[in-house]
């Protein structure tokens, strides 16, 4: 008997099968089939970007953020990487009976602070309280809308061979931070989530680098899964240089010990951008001057091909990156 497994929610191969086999089967429309971070909808007055997301992180408070900040940043970033200027969002709270009111207020205050930084407003909401054990503490579901400026045309149809691939900073910090906090791995103080609203830095980039072709949010499944999805959707290869990937030494070391690949760990303040190579250096320069892009790097390029992602290793070898298959699990020895 086929059942839903935890791995169906990891953003990788099984998630894709679930989306293909169930959701797209019934919600069959061109916008959803793009499987982008937001749907960009052409309306009589312009283009509207719309997104929705659910947040179920454990623990709900972690170094560098909490479930509330995550909910706002995740929604804002989904809009921003689609080229939209985020405007409004809604939030639905599913709360477990017995959840501390003070913790709820802490979460909501954190959301408000993130909204202020991002310049968005929560304009509608909903609250449900369920019996103890029916959810784990607190789930937040959001929707967000934004407007896409007239001149912005981002998407899978834009990349061509030779385009540069860049990221705005160190990879895997969020995934490892939450894992370390959940499993009490003793990395306290050494790690913090990169959770941040990226719309302002992306707006800056849009203004100075019109050669941006597309962006993706590097959340579940990390850089590797996002790159693979882009390569498949574009029908091109993406060639990455392992030596160019920005990784904090703590993330690199801890992931190595645990047998986890940081390229598959989630981020909450990182994007991948594909950009005209002539503007790549300028983009890195602009990003580097911002706290959310301090470790921005060009990490590779788009190549002719058929949907593969290659990683050139420091030894000069090549390995393939694929969609994440199952949750990242620590090894035994």
């Amino acid at each position: 008997m086929a059942v839903v497994l935890l791995a169906h929610g990891d953003g990788g191969l099984l998630t894709r099968e679930l989306v293909e086999g169930v959701f797209l089967k019934y919600f069959n429309n061109p916008q959803l089939r793009q499987l982008s971070d937001s749907a960009v909808l052409s309306l009589p007055g312009g283009r509207l970007a719309m997104t929705t997301d659910a947040f179920v992180v454990e623990p709900i408070f972690f170094p560098g953020g909490d479930i509330g900040k995550l909910a706002v940043c995740g929604t804002v970033n989904d809009l921003a990487v689609s080229g939209a200027l985020p405007l409004y969002m809604t939030a639905s709270f599913t709360i477990e009976e017995g959840f501390r009111l003070a913790d709820l207020e802490r979460v909501v205050a954190s959301m408000a602070a993130a909204c202020t930084e991002a310049g968005v407003e929560v304009v509608a909401g909903d609250t449900k309280v369920v019996p103890r054990g029916h959810v784990d503490k607190l789930f937040i579901t959001t929707a967000g809308v934004g407007l896409v400026p007239e001149k912005v045309d981002w998407g899978y149809h834009r990349p061509v061979p030779g385009d540069a691939v860049l990221v705005n900073g160190s990879l895997g910090n969020h995934g490892l931070t939450v894992l370390a906090a959940r499993e009490n791995l003793g990395l306290d103080g050494a790690l913090a989530s990169d959770c941040a609203p990226l719309n302002n830095i992306i707006k800056l980039l849009q203004k100075h680098c019109p050669g941006i072709k597309m962006m993706r949010d590097l959340t579940r499944g990390g850089l590797a899964t996002a790159a693979k999805e882009i390569a498949e959707a574009c029908g091109l290869d993406i060639c990455l240089q392992e030596e160019a990937l920005p990784l904090d030494p703590v993330v690199r070391g801890a992931a190595d010990i645990l047998g986890l690949d940081p390229l598959y760990l989630a981020n909450e303040g990182k994007f991948l951008a594909i950009i005209d190579p002539a503007q790549a250096a300028k983009a890195v320069d602009i990003l580097s001057q911002n706290s959310y892009g301090r470790n921005a790097r060009v990490i590779g390029e788009v190549c002719a091909g058929s949907g593969n992602v290659y990683l050139q290793t420091p030894l000069g070898g090549t390995r393939l990156l694929s969609l994440q298959a199952g949750q990242p699990l620590p090894r035994i020895c």
Binding site: G235, A304, T313
Partner: protein, 417 residues
């Protein structure tokens, strides 16, 4: 030193030297040099660094029985699933075990069906789980080699000191030297040398593997896990083969002593006795399993939950039950170990095939839907090949914005950054 061990420039220079040496040897042998990396972590490292491809045509690297998840036989998986089905029991396990398929289920599926399965990072975490939840019966799945067994032993001793009554271990710990003896004794493995597991040797000592050279005339090098470590071991190994020298060389001296870690060895012998154990692909290997001593019987899940085996397996002694052919008679049989149909994990673990030789590989067996454990474990050879080496099938349905306009698959070229 760590910086040096990960220095890409040094690594690239060493690759040049290894390739040169391998080319000379290949010419002399008239074929590629065949080496076995015994340890799963080495398997992942040689695939993840692209080393396998860089040495292609010169050195063929085969995986051996060094992934603890992969060598756990199907009947033990069934037993673990049976434990998970017991009311009030929480199975505490390393993450890799969760997705290993049994005949019809897995811990992942049991968890989806309501079983309590908790991923832990060490036996100490499982012990803590039992202390924090006195109403739970916590069974820790003791999978691993000499590297993890001492930690399990310590947790048993601590449980005894604390007087815990809700903690036990299902010990399927295994010892690497006996299975290497079985592998070589079978006579069907054709390799020119071995890369030995650094972590295991840190406990056993390099001398525990000296018999490989002395009895079977095959050289071996104990290796660490950074690219430079592995390349250094390859270099030395190729040198030994070229010279016809059959020694076992310790190439990981800053971690591994000839006699190993005596304290860890003592912890193991204090809590465990050695007995015959079943290995996937090997059948029963004499003296290769670690079983909990009677002194600590209350922490032995096979005794504590003696009626809880799968239907075909009654009571304790499961892991020591002799099925298939014994290694002493030569050759291996799978007996009633219920391997998945068509799965060749067993032959893979014996170094007889590489993952693409299995008809299920990449088709009916993928990381998303694994048929055998070698596709599941983060140290499994099939997982390494699938993840790092092969092309995966495209999934239908995603809009391909450039369909029809794609290039000819020029692959990766050097990007100037």
């Amino acid at each position: 030193m760590l910086k040096r061990l990960n220095d890409p420039q040094l690594g690239r220079e060493m690759i040049r030297k290894v390739r040169e040496r391998a080319a000379r040897l290949t010419e002399r042998l008239g074929r590629a040099v065949t080496l076995m990396e015994v340890c799963g972590t080495h398997t992942m490292a040689v695939s993840g660094t692209g080393l396998r491809g860089l040495l292609s045509g010169l050195v063929e690297l085969r995986s051996g029985p060094g992934c603890p998840v992969c060598v756990t036989p199907a009947r033990d998986i069934e037993q673990i699933i049976a434990f998970a089905r017991l009311s009030g029991v929480t199975v505490a396990t390393f993450g890799d075990m969760v997705r290993v398929p049994g005949a019809q289920s897995s811990l992942e599926r049991e968890r989806a069906g309501g079983a309590r399965v908790q991923i832990v990072y060490s036996p100490a975490d499982a012990l803590q789980l039992a202390r924090d939840n006195p109403r739970w019966e916590v069974i820790f799945i003791g999978v691993g080699f000499e590297t993890t067994a001492p930690l399990a032993a310590v947790s048993i001793k601590q449980a005894a000191e604390l007087g815990l009554t809700n903690f036990s271990i299902y010990s399927v710990h295994k010892l690497v030297p006996p299975v290497m003896g079985a592998l070589l004794g079978a006579g069907d493995l054709k390799v020119d040398g071995f890369i030995l597991p650094g972590h295991v040797c840190a406990v056993t000592g390099s001398r525990a593997f000296a018999f490989i050279g002395e009895e079977y005339g095959i050289p071996a090098v104990v290796a660490g896990f950074t690219p430079v470590d592995i390349l250094d071991a390859l270099y030395v190994l190729l040198d030994l083969i070229q010279a016809g020298d059959h020694r076992v060389v310790n190439g990981y001296r800053w971690v591994v002593r000839d006699d190993g870690n005596l304290k860890a060895q003592r912890a193991i012998t204090d809590c465990f006795y050695t007995g015959d154990a079943a290995w996937r692909g090997f059948g029963v290997v004499e003296g290769s399993g670690l079983f909990i001593r009677d002194q600590y019987a209350q922490y032995d899940a096979t005794q504590k939950f003696a009626g809880a085996g799968p239907a075909s397996v009654a009571g304790p002694g499961l892991a020591t039950e002799r099925v298939g052919k014994s290694t002493t008679t030569g050759g291996f049989g799978t007996g009633d170990f219920l391997e998945p149909r068509g799965c060749r994990c067993g032959e893979l673990l014996r170094g007889l095939i590489t993952p693409p030789d299995c008809a299920l590989f990449g088709g009916k067996c993928t990381p998303a839907s694994p048929a055998g454990p070698c596709m599941v474990s983060s140290e499994g050879a099939c997982a390494a090949y699938y993840r790092y080496v092969t092309n995966q099938p495209r999934l239908p349905g995603v809009v391909n914005a450039n369909s029809g306009a794609a290039g000819s698959g020029a692959g990766c070229r050097k990007v100037e950054l």
